[in-house]
């Protein structure tokens, strides 16, 4: 079975994002970039499926600028077999990415696509679901456990208030949540080997996909700073305020 793992280049998880002074977006100059953490979990899950003998090949794919190669190399170092870069400098929104991925799926015919539930930059949480819709495939979002049994995949999902388990016939799309696994370290020898694994570059035009953005970002602002409220003199006053002013306790 072939697994496709889409990975996104985003701001490093440890770096504090800040709004540009002119309000046109977030400041990304001189900012360390990295693989989206949820995608790292996706790569890890694919590698585990391969180690378990379920998967035979892992193809990593990234859509975006040429530098996404760094994230693809990381996916290769973590255990992907080869990589595809759909290179474009156009701002890609989830629907466009889903269409690019659909075109890749049509070419590669994987049985399973595993990707992160959301990217930590736009926080959209859409791409996997959109891809499943375009392919008419089943989807399981927010996966915290994945088991493949023959032609069926069973996924435990983290939903509000608990867990839900779905069984789907393959092919399918799975999006990962934080608790699915703990990604491994890329070792030095694997990083070196990754440099020699195949990485193919395509363009949206070659895939016949129109990636023009549908949403216009008019501005980006800093979130309003929280203001200090009031000091209460006693527990009784606190309880009164919580009950009657804030209405957060019965």
């Amino acid at each position: 079975m072939k697994i496709l793992v889409p990975v996104k280049r985003v701001i490093d998880y440890n770096v504090k994002a800040r709004v540009k002074a002119d309000g046109s977006g977030m400041e990304l100059a001189n900012v360390k970039m990295a693989m989206n953490p949820f995608d790292e979990i996706a790569v890890e899950e694919a590698v585990r499926l391969k180690e378990a003998g379920v998967a035979s090949e892992i193809v990593a794919v990234s859509c975006g600028e040429a530098k996404c190669q760094e994230q693809l190399r990381q996916a290769l170092a973590l255990g992907a077999d080869r990589a595809l870069l759909v290179e474009t400098t156009v701002e890609l929104q989830p629907l466009a990415v889903a269409k690019l991925l659909k075109a890749i799926v049509d070419r590669e015919a994987p049985r399973l696509v595993i990707l992160g539930k959301q990217a930590i930059d736009d926080d959209a949480n859409q791409t996997g679901q959109m891809l499943a819709a375009l392919l008419d495939w089943p989807q399981a979002t927010f996966a915290s456990k994945v088991a493949v049994r023959g032609e069926e995949i069973e996924v435990t999902r983290e939903i509000d208030g608990g867990l839900e388990t779905l069984a789907m016939t393959l092919p399918a799309v799975v999006t990962t949540d934080l608790r699915l696994n703990e990604p491994r370290y890329a070792t030095l020898p694997n990083i070196m080997k990754a440099k020699k694994k195949p990485l193919e570059t395509l363009t949206p035009a070659e895939l016949g996909v129109d990636v023009a953005p549908r949403l216009a970002t008019l501005k980006v602002e800093e979130p309003p700073a929280r203001k200090a409220g009031v000091k209460v003199a006693s527990v009784a006053e606190l309880v009164d305020k919580l009950r009657h002013e804030a209405k957060v306790i019965p």
């Binding site: 770096v15 100059a29 360390k32 370290y185 070792t187 030095l188 070196m192």
Partner: protein, 543 residues
Amino acid sequence: MEFDVLVVGGGPAGLACAIRLKQLAAAAGRELSVCLLEKGAEIGAHILSGAVFETRALDELIPDWRARGAPLGVPVLRDEVYYFPHESNALRLPGFALPKTMHNAGNYVISLGKLCRWLGSEAEALGVEIFPGFAAAELLIEAGVVTGVVTGELGRAKDGSEKPDYQPGMALKAKYTVFAEGCRGHLGKALIERFDLAAGRDPQHYAIGLKELWEVPAERHEPGLVVHGAGWPLEGNANGGSFLYHGEDNTIAVGLIVDLNYANPYLSPFEEFQRFKQHPVIRRHLAGGRRIAYGARAIAKGGFSSLPKMHFPGGLLIGCDAGTLNFAKIKGSHTAMKSGLIAAETIFAALEQDRAGGRDLVEFETALRASWLYEELYAARNFGAALHRFGTLFGGAFNWIDQNLFGGRLPVTLHDPEPDHMRLKPAAECAPIVYEKPDGVISFDRLSSVFLSNTNHEEDQPAHLKLTDPGLALTVNLARYAAPETRYCPAGVYEIVEEAGGPRLVINAQNCLHCKTCDIKDPGQNIRWLPPEGGGGPVYGAM
């Protein structure tokens, strides 16, 4: 894994060395494998400097750096130097009154981190194998010869057990290993001890440099303006100096450098820095702006008299790891790079003669002595010691005479034989210092500052700050010196917590900025900085 040359540290010294090696190999049509390890998550992540940059070494390394797009966008256009007698007034020193070494025409205001990232991509293009996120943890020494290093292990839990994804350290061997860890490298320190490299030299002297990056309104920004200062708030408590540089993109780098030979354990370099920014001369540059980054790093400033032997069997010690900084100019990047160039040339020639490697490259010393680097350090040799001995005013006067009238050739050499950590006085003999609360506009608290360094470490790992004797934290550090580590650490790593059972030292290793101050200043030399899991530490953007 084996390489011809292994470079430890991706700062200006290590990168210059790696690039030069590849250039020489290409010119000679030789295969030469060069590997460079960097503990930061990427090249530049742990680089913090001022910086006003002198291009001399870069001109030699990559003469067409301009055409190749090196990030040196802002030439120095104007120099201002102040002496601050106290918190509200300032004496602007006229140009003629400054030591020559403080003139900056022809230099550039840069982010050294950005320059290193650019050098890193140049190095990679030449075929240097760069591995960010991997620290060299231990030396490999075989039969008295350094044969490489062992990288840090990954995946060990806080309690010492191995986690499921545990990866042991890896031995990386090389014919020659170049150590370029910057100031107070932990392997450099081990090498100096192991091969007695500092024999007959003055002890190394250090300072801690704290820095912030501000973004200010365009109309208040003057790209290329360079402001240096001395005096308040340090005069009396400690020596040091300040800098404020107007760089690219409406940013200002502002910093305070505090010599680590200060005596009063109540002194907090961080608080002095916050206080310093409130001086009207400094404040007016920052007003209306927002702070976008913070960090700190120690500086090896002993210079010529403290410079250890830089060669030993199997390798070289270069850049600030040895101590090549010119303190008269507070510049160390061009000298670090120059030491890297000389190292590369020495090693390449040695490998041409004998592919086996592993020799003690004594000829490095000769090449160094013949270079402008040596000349420069010799000329600056008295600068720091004069300030230590005579204070900012009189030491400054000595330096003016020495540097301007004699070009650094006054026929005396001042020595400063006492290591910095011995200079702390017992708390009982010192007056506690009361610092004002931060105003949240110009001055800030330590934890919100650390937030802007993007530092982080995997929490579930053993603390990388080790106490040789844990008991001393209370019996000596707290009892005698009022726990100075809680003040000199710029990241709030050390805290004394009062508990039912008495006070306890808490080490928040996760906060660490890898500045190395604790390793330097701890009065009993009881704190050791060791590399944490690779990739941990600050993630500086353009520092």
